[in-house]
Amino acid sequence: MDYTPREMMAIIAAREIEDGTIVFCGTGMSMLAAIAAKKITSPRSVIFFETGSIDACLEEIPLAVADPRVMYGASSFSSMLDAFAVMQNRITGRHVVGILGAGQVDKFGNLNTTCIGAYDRPRTRFPGSGGGSDVSSFVPKSVIFMQQQKRKFVKKLDYLTSPGYLDGPGSREKAGLPSGGPSMVITNMGTFRFDETSKEMYANSIYPGVEPAQILDAMEFEVDFSRARKENPPTVNELSVLREKCDPCRLILGR
């Protein structure tokens, strides 16, 4: 069965979300992945937005985390402050996984969603942190969506918006952040994880038809490929739920 890279990415992220977790997501792919997880792999997961809606129906796909579509059928509404407190809270926060995207990522999984170039006069301005830096600061696990491009996988971020493993082992704790960090980076070519000891990114899987060299060509920094396996393509069931139940209008999946 044919599938697009975006479909592959959504399915892989969905597989990464264990059942019974609280999923924090933003707009676009991250929201689609959360919905796919809930409908395919993890029915008892709870999708939750920084806007304060918990466990909404999501009958139509929201185009923003503040879309009125995040409100229908929710179990509870709260303020944004309360929403972030779910994650900063040391009891509930431990059960949250964040799904994020970014303009740049470095080998420690730190993210830039702020700007390219000098901060006070950037060449390219992005939207900024939103809740991304918050969730990265609070929760033990996150999944990152990226396009596999050299200017996006960089040796040094132009601006460190959201903390991954910062400078490597122990640096989150030194900065005052709780342990944990990104668990996976998902691109249109493969996936990466982070070494338990060095906290550095390594290639975890390669999509069918992609060569390691293609991936390395699309990165500024080197990664270890010794642990990389071939990624399992989406199953027929995964694809059909994704297409028919999650985003039938292909608002996020695209044409």
Partner: protein
Amino acid sequence: MKLSNDKTTNLKDAVNEFLFEGAHISIGGFTANRNPMAAVHEIIRSGIKRLHLYVHSNGQGVDELIGADCVSAVEIAYGGNGRFAPTCVRFRKAVEQGTLAVEDYTNYQMNLRFLAGAMGIPFLPCHSALGTDIINKWGFSKQRRAGDPRLPDEKLRVMDNPFGQWADSSKVVLVPAVNPDVTFLHVQEADSQGNCRIMGLCFGDVEQAKAAKRLVVTCEKLVDTNVMRRHPEKNQIPGIYVDAVIQVSYGAYPTACYGCYDYDPAYLNEYFRDAKEDSENRNNRQRYVYGLHSHQELLDLIGEERLRLIKADPETGYACNLQRV
């Protein structure tokens, strides 16, 4: 704040009475939802400039204010409008061209800053963004801060937990309070005393309301206070905080107003396209703001047919099966 049984007025008068050149303001809503767009357009028409804007993720309203050159500085967490603008275009251009001073915070931090202002305390602590450039890089220099009594001396401060390792925390970030000169909000219902009822999510509106020195509220419906008082638990903003109440139908249009109407994808997509070119952006503003005298004229221009398309379904609160691409 004001104590009065009749705070109703009109938008022009409210903007003239409470807003001023160089004012520090905030607006309610979130991306494409419940922005006080009628007020935003009236602010643009008023010609009042050099505003200093405090926002978390307020989207469309922010970008229209920036596009109209009303804003000289913004303290912000997210300058996007969901799928309608991954980065708000005029915001992006203004920052890249150096015509807009910007200082970045996280969304939680901006909300905490409003909460601190609402609580009457100088700061609140959090763990957000420790170890990042949000801590290290400031939009306003120490020098500029020292010379401006309306800015705190520091962007934020990192402090060791004064209670040792209590609550499993070693460090906190202290973010300073914000007390805007004026906050503008749009709500579904209010009474003439200013008691406000928001349906659906409140986002940061309640904190933005309570932090403000002056609070101007537009509402879809003006409701009798005795009706509002049958359900005090639904009235999130007590009238004591409110200075002015203005009934404005579709006052959040083109953004959504839960239970009343959806966002208008046609307007938002047209805005996004136009925003990319300076001249088209000017034309867009001429067409939808300067060329009109009131929000009602905008609605007349949009026409009943388009308003019918975005009418909210009473069960879900949005326009089901709305064409959104």
